[in-house]
């Protein structure tokens, strides 16, 4: 992955930053130039809560090549209290204990080892609430 592309994604991947519409309050990840609810174009940066609810999940047995060392792994969609939903791995939990509607928390983790150079990429994963 090219450094500029990776760097652009750091605010939400590293810090859970989201953009909140200054007019109607709708929250977005990633950032947008225009609010799809009210059409306003000004946003403030907020930090998302790190407690989420699991909406749905799957266990991936046939991943893309850069995830083969992690297979099988759970992948879930979670909803943040701010209304945003995101897709990420659910880790540190037995697959049998996964349940839609359960509370999870968001943690900063290594996501993948990129390309032949073995550059590490970081971001968020969902884990059980401690």
């Amino acid at each position: 992955m090219f450094p500029a592309r990776y760097a652009r994604e750091m605010p939400h991947r590293y810090r859970l930053e989201a953009h909140k519409c200054k007019q109607c309050g709708k929250v977005f990840v990633p950032r947008r130039e225009i609010c799809d609810k009210c059409g306003a174009t000004e946003f403030e940066v907020i930090r998302l809560s790190d407690r989420v609810k699991l909406v749905t999940y799957t266990i991936i047995h046939t991943p893309a090549s850069q995830f083969k060392d992690q297979s099988p792994y759970a992948l879930g969609i979670c909803e943040f209290p701010e209304g945003v939903r995101l897709t990420a791995q659910v880790v540190d939990i037995d697959f049998a204990d996964l349940k839609t509607g359960m509370d999870l928390q968001v943690e900063f983790r290594r996501i993948q080892t990129d390309g032949h150079e073995g550059i590490l990429s970081y971001g968020y994963k969902f884990v059980p609430v401690i």
């Binding site: 994604e9 990840v29 990633p30 909406v55 749905t56 999940y57 799957t58 266990i59 991936i60 047995h61 046939t62 991943p63 893309a64 090549s65 995830f67 992690q70 792994y73 992948l75 879930g76 969609i77 939903r85 995101l86 897709t87 990420a88 791995q89 839609t100 996501i111 993948q112 990429s121 971001g123 968020y124 994963k125």
Partner: protein, 385 residues
């Protein structure tokens, strides 16, 4: 706008076509479509191709195909909407003709997927999802549809057996299709015991990786009788819609809203409703997709798509036969070609020329073609003229 007729269709055998190149595969289909008409010269050509670049390193598809079709200088271009690229090519071709810009237009679709490894194909296909927010975190296409499947199962009680019934039905239909990649039967047990890909979806819940192309030729209705001897087929309804590309950003992940919106538009244009459709070709890239799509199109209430396939309502001889061609599941899924192959099947059925697959009283057919996890949809309604 001018009324538009489909006067020619062509589709060669699909599969792992190792002895054929991207251009070979396309030109073979285009020549079959031309041979189905009295046309020798086109005014325009639109080709659906999702990712010539990632699959074979070839872009600039319009020029290369016009040249190898023997029509150098033809106005030709490629359109893209992921797995709905073929459907989009058909829509653009109709717009060319309906508007009066062109008279005779070829709409084609092509994909050459087996020149890369399985990992290469997974990488290319993943480009139809949200690269930064889904794929980066480990999502795959079977994975995204598995997320939908679990949500649908938990909300409506859709069962593992009902998913398997889609595969069993479509493979059965595919046994009657000489162009299908996998024209063999599968049993409920085989589907349910096949290799796990993304729980609850197994390998026999997934459409395959395929090389293939298909082509159709459209012209103004008033010229159609002079350009073909085949029974005339008229395009009566068109619909197109998009949605958030990331599954997690959609309002409801147990339905495909882009399909509902596109279908409403197509039904309104044709002056028809779901009950007026005699048969349909829908985008069964995964078994759960067919169940969700038949609900989103309005053929069944939300949550009733699973029970309907289990009860045989979508089988040959059922209330509304779905995917008589074998669908993506058995026929194959060369992504850019799929939307055009659906039109091929609809036209064959409406002409009464579908061989062993022919159903009785095929007067109104519907094709639904979608991209990614449902972020784009094309719907077309065709009728006997």
């Amino acid at each position: 706008m001018r009324d538009v007729a489909v006067i020619g269709v062509g589709m060669p055998k699909w599969g792992e076509l190792w002895d054929k190149s991207l251009r070979d595969v396309f030109v073979e289909a285009a020549l079959l479509a031309l041979a189905d008409t009295k046309v020798d010269k086109l005014d325009n050509m639109l080709i659906g191709c999702m990712s010539g670049g990632l699959f074979v390193g070839q872009e600039h598809i319009g020029a290369i195909m016009a040249d190898y079709l023997g029509q150098r200088h033809l106005a030709a271009g490629r359109v893209e909407s992921a797995c709905a690229s073929g459907g989009l090519a058909f829509r653009c071709a109709i717009a060319e003709v309906a508007s009066g810009m062109s008279d005779v237009v070829l709409a084609g679709g092509v994909e050459k997927m087996t020149d890369v490894s399985g990992d290469g194909a997974t990488y290319a296909l993943a480009a139809a999802a949200d690269q930064e927010y889904e794929v980066f975190n480990g999502a795959t296409f079977p994975g995204l549809y598995a997320l939908m499947a679990r949500a649908h199962m938990e909300k409506y009680g859709t069962t593992r057996d009902q998913l398997a019934h889609v595969a069993v039905k479509n493979h059965h239909n595919g046994t009657k299709n000489p162009n299908a990649q996998y024209p063999f039967e599968v049993t409920l047990d085989q589907v349910k015991n096949s290799v796990m890909i993304a729980d609850p979806l197994r390998i026999l819940d997934c459409s395959p990786i395929t090389d293939g192309a298909a082509a159709v030729i459209v012209c103004p209705m008033e010229m159609a009788k002079d350009l073909t001897e085949k029974p005339l087929v008229k395009v009566t309804g068109l619909g197109q819609a998009t949605d958030a590309i990331a599954l997690h950003s959609r309002q409801d992940i147990t339905t495909i809203e882009a399909t509902t919106v596109a279908a409403k538009e197509a039904f309104a244009m044709a002056g028809k409703g779901p009950k007026d459709i005699d048969f349909a070709e829908v985008h069964d890239c995964f078994t759960i997709a067919e169940i969700v799509v038949t609900e989103s199109l309005g053929f069944f209430e939300p949550g009733k798509g699973g029970p309907a396939v289990e009860a045989g309502e979508t089988a040959r001889g059922g209330r509304i036969p779905i995917n008589l061609s074998g669908g993506l599941k058995s026929k194959g899924h060369p992504v850019g070609a799929t939307g055009i192959a659906q039109i091929y099947e609809i036209v064959k059925q409406l002409r009464g020329d579908a061989g062993e697959r022919q159903i009785e009283n095929a007067k109104v057919g519907l094709a639904q073609n979608m991209g990614g996890s449902g972020a784009s949809t094309l719907v077309h309604i065709l009728e006997v003229a």
